[in-house]
């Protein structure tokens, strides 16, 4: 009975260790994937790239006379 228990415990430890290593590998892979995606996102979000694409589509930056600011403060009584 005791022998069976010791064997079972060792098998469980063995399984956990194997699982631990698998999870470590998975974590490393997910980290790598995450970094790859973050890098790609940052490249695609680059202002210079977007401005280039916008200019290519015929868009131009609005001039100072083409936008206005609203004053949301209450007017003095």
């Amino acid at each position: 009975m005791l022998l069976t228990g010791v064997v079972a415990l060792n098998v469980a430890v063995l399984r956990l260790n194997v699982r631990y290593e698998e999870l470590g590998r998975e974590r490393a892979k997910l980290r790598a994937d995450n970094a790859e995606l973050a890098s790609e996102l940052a490249s695609r979000a680059a202002a210079a790239r977007i401005q280039g694409l916008a200019r290519g589509s015929g868009l131009v930056p609005a001039g100072p006379d083409q936008w206005t600011y609203l004053d949301l403060r209450a007017p003095p009584q």
Partner: protein
Amino acid sequence: MKLANRRIRLLLVSFAFAFAAMFLRAAWLQGVRAQDFDRLAQGQHEATVVDPAARGTIYDRSGVQLAIGRQATTVYANPREIDDPRAVALAVAKTLRIAPEPLVALLADRSRGFVHIARKADPKRAKLLEEQQLPGLGFVPEEQRVYPQGRVAAQVLGYAGTDNRGLAGLELALDRTLRGRAGRETVVRDPSGRAIEVLSSTAAEQGQDVYLTLDHTLQANAEAVLHATVQRWDAKAASAVVLDPRTGGILAMAVERGYDANRFPIVPRDYQRNRAVTDTYEPGSTFKVVTVSAALSERLVTPQTEFTLPYEIHVADRVIHDAHERGTERMTVDEIISQSSNVGTITLAQLLGESRLSEWMQRFGFGRKTGVDYPGETRGIVPPLARWSGSTIGTMPIGHGVAVTPVQMAAAYAAVANDGVWLRPHLVDRVGSNERVPVASRRILSRGVAQQVMAMMRDVVVEGTGTAAALPGYQVAGKTGTAAKPDPDGGYSKTRYVASFVGVVPATDPRLVVLVTVDEPASAIWGGVVAAPAFAEIARFGLQYLEIPPDAPTTMR
């Protein structure tokens, strides 16, 4: 019977010898060689795995990644396990898209058991190569530093080398913060290489992320404007600094010509310099603000004090004149600045005297490092008072015989814009989740004098030498500068100039200080012509991007 007894005794002796030999062998193995075999066994089933620390990411102020770690695969080989080096080399070269000839020689050299085939290769291509199961090849994942914004802020960021160590720029300055510490794990492996027991484990400490004050959009725009400026005026180089005068935070620090940080090994060293911090220039007239601020602070003059000023003035052995020929005129201090009069500024400096002028230059931070968090900052060149000649009082007040860095000059103007309080210019906003470190500050001008100087600089743009810096809807304060470059064999060049403009917007509630310097423009030389329009472009974009409301809506076209 006797014969049988002899045989039995012989057998006994043989057994005794055999047992003795086995006993000795066992004692030899378990006693003398035990440690060696134990080590050998451990080597076969134990392994220490290094868990490399990921290098921290560098973000701009809006949270966009400027430098990030990406997984790459390093491919290596053991030439002793390769029977046909040529075939393997061709397969590797085709898959990784590298030249095959050096590989053939590398793989044919059986004197070595380990050679690098490609450090930090494209992981997708490395995977394809791994699937071919060529003999003698090995694959190790490694982190590779990439700069997703390409050219944006390349000189500021610097780069990390093959071993992921910072080699230049902020990557170098912040290396210890970004690098982290690798972890280690000792495991027992089964014959198939799977870990079945973890003997010891030290977790890796990942590198800390760093958040900059830079804004990648403002930075990209400043670089684009500088690029166009260099092209337009056929200049050698240009640099720009955009500062928030309320915090000292640097929003953009651009240098043209730039380069793609991902291609740093093949970029000339000259392009890699962050000229805004490491290079000095003679500021010329932008320096006059120091002289005038000093004269106002010492209560020697007011903005309305008038002087009768000839076209030229004798100082020791030199004759110094204004930039444009004119007769003798009466000018106020305000007009001295707006018209950028050399003679007027020198007259003010003579009122101040050498000692006080020297003190005020130091007070503005010239001749010493600003403390900007970037490696290789130079302190500039401000000769000590003991080494001044008779003519120094005629050259230094107008920005000649003195050399400053763009970041020093931008910080000085930011102090004027910040009601006289100088703040240490900085690029790093915070590290990880740590709180911001308070920025060093000191008052260099009274609020009243700072406001008087701002008013004078507004006139420079309204009616003086800097009208090209005007922006519809906003009040702009600024100062132009045009300085001949020193010749290597003494004296000043007649063809090589530095044109500059430093401006503050909106002048009534300063949010941006923009400095532009253009090195050796060929088709025009004046700061008001070459640098002021670049300032206007950068400031116009910045004001709109940061949603800063106009302070002079009536001037809107």
